[in-house]
């Protein structure tokens, strides 16, 4: 017998994090895999092309890791336009692959299906194909209707945060996945999933219809790993922490004062050797106060 043991997919954060190399195309799901994003910032990974949205994407831009974003939405209910995104895009230091939700999902679907493109109607008549030269206006080969051909969007590594998985990479999101998670998973060469809890294989098999991702390449145990953002069924956003982030980063960019930005990341990210140290600094009492109920 050559091999009689089923292999575990569980990796420590630093092992999984090392898969991410400068220059890669990565994607960020929802809830946000903040533990891994902090690892990326701490380890000075740069020149990433990032598919994502909202403040988690901004965090990575502010952290100095991003050269190009593929995003349909760079705002949040907390702020009209995210500060690092806005400032770097206006300066021309951040490239934006202009798109929208249906165009983005079409490109991701094409990648997952091994196709060079997918057609989409949303965006016809808009400025999107003018701004983004990768989007081609075509006539459909059946009836001649005008559509947009979206090229496949392939991803090196997708980073997700979910509720539970077993040790073999079978992931079950609580209350459904984030809107893009499944698209990002299917379009990627590899997927790393942070989870709140690792459960037994038997627990997964007792409700296989809840499995959202099978064969995750790496599982990282990361309780409270989406902090300061929410994790469905576990905790809500840390509004105070997010307000502090927005204030620090907005001020840093409007002053042109890099130190303020560095100070923020030193205090909230770089000084920690691990996710556990980060959680210690946040404090158990505060974490518990965020419980979703």
């Amino acid at each position: 017998m050559l091999n009689q043991v089923r292999e575990s997919s569980v990796l420590p954060e630093e092992k999984a994090g090392q898969w991410v190399k400068s220059g890669m195309t990565i994607a960020i799901g929802e809830p946000a895999p903040m533990g891994l994003l902090r690892w990326i910032i701490r380890n000075k990974i740069t020149d990433l092309t990032v598919i994502g949205s909202g403040l988690a994407l901004d965090y990575l831009i502010a952290g100095g890791c991003v050269r190009k974003v593929i995003t349909y939405y760079a705002g949040s209910p907390d702020i009209a336009v995210m500060p690092a995104f806005r400032s770097e895009a206006e300066n021309g230091t951040l490239e934006v692959w202009e798109c929208e939700e249906g165009i983005l999902t079409s490109g991701l679907e094409a990648a997952g299906k091994g196709l060079p493109f997918m057609p989409w109607r949303g965006g016809v008549g808009t400025s999107l194909p003018d701004i983004n030269a990768d989007l081609k206006v075509i006539r459909d080969p059946i009836g001649g209707e005008v559509l947009i051909a979206v090229p496949a969007i392939n991803i090196d590594i997708t980073l997700l945060h979910a509720s539970i998985s077993d040790s073999y990479g079978n992931v079950q999101h609580c209350r459904g996945t984030g809107w893009l998670d499944m698209f990002l998973y299917r379009a990627a060469d590899r997927v790393i999933v942070q989870v709140e809890k690792i459960v037994s294989n038997e627990e997964i098999r007792s409700k296989p219809w809840e499995t959202t991702i099978s064969n995750a390449d790496a599982i990282v145990l990361s309780p409270y790993g989406a902090h300061p953002f929410y994790s469905r069924g576990y905790y809500v956003q840390d509004q105070e922490h997010i307000r502090d982030y927005l204030e620090a980063i907005t001020t840093a960019y409007s002053d042109g004062n890099r130190d303020k930005k560095d100070g923020y990341f030193e205090k909230h990210c770089n000084q920690f050797q691990s996710h556990a140290e980060y959680l210690d600094a946040i404090g158990t009492r505060h974490l518990i106060s965020l419980s979703e109920y």
Binding site: Y72, G75, P77, E90, E98, G102, V124, V236
Partner: protein, 263 residues
């Protein structure tokens, strides 16, 4: 409950009256006025409406109150959902979107209801003001049965002759056939509701037209704050203010924290 409605409350009630029982209601991000409107309509006259939040579908007509969530990304807002089927399939059934009603804002809106969420400036790689990007507005406005443009402020910087960039096509360069000619099937924008007035689109040209002025607003206020020439009808009514019942319901069963009463 007898103190007068605020302008935001007036806007919410105007929108809620537009909604029909059976509509599927989806609100774009950061638009508290339609967030209140869809909940109010659901309670007032929409037992068969569906509210679509974060990909979840809810019918919560049976609840005593449908409060606004603390903040938009809170998954508790879909706690009473009947399905999350939109998650992962959000755009796989646009065929059924003739029942769907959407609400959208914009950095810029032009006289044909085209919307810009991309940004302001000549060079798209170095915008003077970088917007939040188009979200799902191009796809939604392409396919939904009808949609409403809702603006948080009415100024000539927002209501412009021509958008610097178009995120979502309204009536394109004008004309009732303009969407059809482009190959865009949905019903298009129906009204544009602002803190000053209600506007619709003319039947033939599809140019934006004044419908009613909110209480205390003059025609000159609107003209001075609109960056293009609005079609002005002969008779301009005042926007019908909320009834006692509507206002009480809005305040006690939806907007519990008074979000629309402040500012």
């Amino acid at each position: 409950m007898s103190f007068p409605a605020t302008i935001k409350e007036v806007m919410a009630v105007v929108l809620s009256r537009e909604l029909e029982d059976g509509d599927h209601l989806q609100v774009g991000v950061a638009l508290p006025v339609p967030e209140v409107a869809v909940r109010l309509a659901h309670i007032m006259h929409g037992p068969n409406m569906q509210l679509i939040f974060l990909g979840g579908r809810m019918n919560v007509h049976h609840l005593e109150s449908i409060p606004l969530p603390d903040f938009g990304w809170d998954s508790r807002s879909v706690r009473w959902a009947e399905s999350y089927s939109d998650r992962g399939h959000r755009f796989d059934q646009v065929k059924a979107w003739h029942k769907r009603v959407f609400f959208v804002g914009g950095l810029q809106v032009d006289k044909f209801g085209n919307i810009n969420l991309i940004g302001i400036g000549n060079d798209p790689t170095k915008l003077k003001f970088r917007g939040p990007a188009s979200v799902g507005t191009p796809t939604l406005t392409t396919h939904v049965g009808r949609y409403y443009i809702v603006l948080n402020n009415h100024s000539s910087r927002v209501l412009v002759p021509k958008c610097d960039y178009v995120s979502a096509v309204g009536w394109h360069e004008g004309g009732a056939n303009s969407r059809k000619e482009l190959g865009i099937p949905g019903g298009g924008p129906k009204l544009c509701v602002t803190p000053l007035c209600v506007m619709d689109f003319t039947e033939v040209e599809k140019r934006m037209r004044l419908v009613s002025l909110h209480p205390g607003v003059t025609l000159d206020d609107v003209k001075a704050n609109t960056g293009f020439e609005l079609v002005i009808p002969d008779i301009i009514p005042t926007t019908l203010v909320p009834t006692e019942d509507e206002l009480t319901t809005l305040r006690t069963r939806v907007d519990l924290n008074g979000l629309l009463r402040s500012g």
